[in-house]
């Protein structure tokens, strides 16, 4: 029990040391670099490239602290950052990093954390280390050599009394250090949360954003259901009625007018083929079977083969995505490709799929005439809405003359690693 408490305190103290070390060794240089890079924005302009790098490093440090706070003390600190813009435009990235208030709170945290993290992190370790020294080393070593009082040197001149006082003091230090280690680590986590967690403002913005995207998602799914109902009602269902009508009439006419009956039956056969085709197309529009069977890259590859222009699909996803994300990603890519076919006049197009562990990125490019815009009510705006429901983003670069590049990003994890290409329902 005692040993366990001791070990726990030792671990906590070591973690405190890590906090203190990071506060100084990483905090000071990062703060300096961040300030310098910011100063270089108006001065030399290189800051535009440098500042996001520096500020993202600050962010990484803050993320480290968030992880530690959760893992070590159970204090959850949510990430307050705005979603990363799709694409690699340095201007957009700079605007994204510099425009996020959370970035500045991060910088403030790094600065304040230099003393606060240092002190809070160091005190428990100091208590334990000096306490143990005072118990186990200092008085005995001093007895032999006359030196080695260490931190207890003011007591050196009091002989036996000094030794006793040293031991007493050291014991008190250890006793204080045991509860202090977890307490100060927790205090530091709370201090970090005050600066690193989303502010009320940010949360309110987030809630507003979620409310909007939810509404859009609900609208979109209602419209989608309506479209499916309509397609079925006017399509396959009507064809089946016509089909059965033809067969019925042919049955009646079989004796009276065999020629007409035969013609009706031929029509019926044709209608049944058309109904099947329509059903297949409808199913493909709801959830393409190949997407269910092969996942996003298989689905996109199959889609590419069905388009009138050659489309190269590159990249490989090491696993399957969650079904809703997979579906959203597929239809976003499908819409972007449909746009290419309809408007760009491109001779070829390409799709790149990649997943960096946190986000799925799909890049759809073509060699067409460019000039694509995200018009309200247009296909690309639909893609943006579709992605927004998953906190995904879209970036379009389409200078006149082309090429057009649409970058789609969706934050998501890869779930089941793929076993074999033939897995899933055959």
């Amino acid at each position: 029990m005692e040993a366990q408490a001791g070990r726990r305190a030792a671990v906590m103290a070591a973690r405190g040391l890590a906090v203190a070390a990071v506060a100084l060794a990483a905090g000071i240089p990062l703060f300096v670099i961040a300030v310098v890079s910011l100063a270089l924005i108006p001065a030399a302009g290189v800051g535009i490239i440098l500042a996001p790098v520096a500020l993202l490093s600050v962010r990484a440090l803050a993320d480290q602290q968030r992880t530690w706070a959760t893992d070590w003390t159970g204090v959850e600190i949510a990430r307050p950052y705005r979603p990363e813009p799709a694409g690699r435009s340095p201007w957009r990235r700079a605007a994204w990093v510099l425009g996020d208030p959370a970035t500045w709170r991060d910088v403030l945290w790094v600065l304040v954390n230099i003393p606060v993290g240092f002190v809070l992190g160091l005190v428990p370790a100091a208590c334990l280390v000096y306490g143990l020294e005072g118990l186990a080393v200092a008085p005995w070593l001093a007895r032999i050599t006359g030196y080695g009082w260490g931190p207890f040197w003011p007591l050196a001149d009091y002989g036996f009394l000094g030794t006793a006082a040293t031991i007493l003091l050291a014991a008190l230090l250890v006793l204080a250090g045991l509860p202090l280690a977890p307490a100060l680590l927790r205090a530091h986590a709370r201090f970090s949360r005050a600066l690193l967690a989303p502010t009320r403002d940010a949360l309110e913005r987030r809630v507003a954003h979620l409310a909007t995207t939810r509404e859009e998602a609900v609208d979109a799914s209602a419209a989608e259901l309506r479209r499916i109902e309509r397609d079925l009602h006017d399509g396959a269902q009507a064809r089946l009625v016509a089909l059965s009508m033809n067969i019925g009439l042919a049955e009646e006419l079989m004796k009276r007018d065999p020629e007409t009956a035969a013609r009706l039956l031929a029509e019926a056969r044709q209608a049944s083929g058309t109904a099947l085709t329509e059903l297949r197309d409808l199913v493909r529009g709801i959830h393409p079977p190949v997407l269910a069977e092969r996942g996003l890259d298989g689905g996109v590859r199959a889609l590419a083969l069905s388009l009138p222009i050659p489309v190269d699909v590159s990249g490989d996803l090491p696993g399957r995505l969650d079904a809703p994300v997979e579906s959203a990603g597929y239809f976003a890519v499908a819409e972007a490709l449909a746009n290419v076919v309809k408007h760009s006049g491109a001779a070829r197009a390409w799709v790149e799929l990649e997943h960096d562990g946190r986000r799925l990125r799909a890049i759809v490019g073509d060699d067409g005439t460019g000039g694509a815009i995200v018009a309200p009510g247009g296909g690309l705006a639909g893609v943006e809405r579709r992605l927004a429901a998953f906190d995904g983003t879209m970036a379009v670069t389409s200078p006149p003359g082309g090429p057009t590049i649409v970058t789609l990003e969706l934050p998501c994890a890869l779930s089941s690693p793929r076993t074999s290409p033939s897995s899933g329902t055959g």
Partner: protein
């Protein structure tokens, strides 16, 4: 017999025209939307109208409303409403004026050509043709209730066919028994359900439907 057809899908419209003409009907107008239907009904004054529930411009229950509207001006105008789904609600609206000459069938029924033509003729004659699906839901809803439970299975079968709008002769032919036997069954049914006995086929049907609470 002069018919007006309202169906927006050309495929089905053409099929209906062909089918009805093959059985000696004269199709005086075939329209594809609600407003033209109303115009055709007042203009041509057909013997019967075959109407799709869902029509442009609204693609809701345009056809149903046009039929009800036309019947307001010309009560008893025979209308056979076709739909890809049947709703008790619509059946009730169609039958509520109690004047007969109403048919309400799933489009699928068209495939049994002879029966469908029979239904059109029955409606044209002021009778009723209610889809077996609607009747079935009505009967299941009342199946557990007292008076309906007193009916024998055969009587329930007869009640169902009666509710669809068939005459004793038609029911007899369907169940392969004599008309006299059916007459006995119907008398029993009316007695057990406390319904007024009526010789008129249509009044009889309406009584049954009112009883079943369409």
């Amino acid at each position: 017999m002069r018919v007006v057809i309202a169906e927006d899908l050309a495929l089905l419209r053409d099929g209906l025209i062909r089918l009805l003409e093959a059985f000696g009907f004269e199709v005086v107008a075939a329209v594809d939307n609600g407003p033209s239907l109303l115009r055709a009904l007042t203009e041509h004054r057909p013997d019967v109208a075959v109407v799709d529930v869902r029509l442009p411009p609204t693609f809701t229950d345009e056809g149903l409303r046009a039929a009800l509207e036309a019947r307001k001006e010309r009560p008893g105008l025979p209308v056979l409403v076709l739909s890809q789904h049947v709703e008790r609600l619509y059946a009730r609206e169609l039958l509520s004026d109690g004047s007969g000459g109403i048919g309400y069938l799933l489009k699928d029924r068209v495939s049994d050509v002879a029966q469908f033509v029979d239904a059109v003729k029955r409606v044209a004659a002021g009778g009723t043709a209610l889809d077996p699906d609607v009747v079935a839901t009505l009967l299941t809803r009342h199946a557990a209730e007292e008076p309906v439970q007193r009916l024998t299975p055969r009587e329930r079968e007869v009640l169902g066919l009666m509710a669809e709008g068939r005459s004793n002769a038609a029911i007899a032919a369907r169940l392969v028994v004599t008309e006299k036997a059916i007459g006995k069954h119907t008398a029993n049914i009316f007695a057990k359900l406390d319904l007024p006995v009526s010789e008129d086929d249509n009044r009889r049907v309406l009584a049954v439907l009112a009883y079943l609470g369409v």
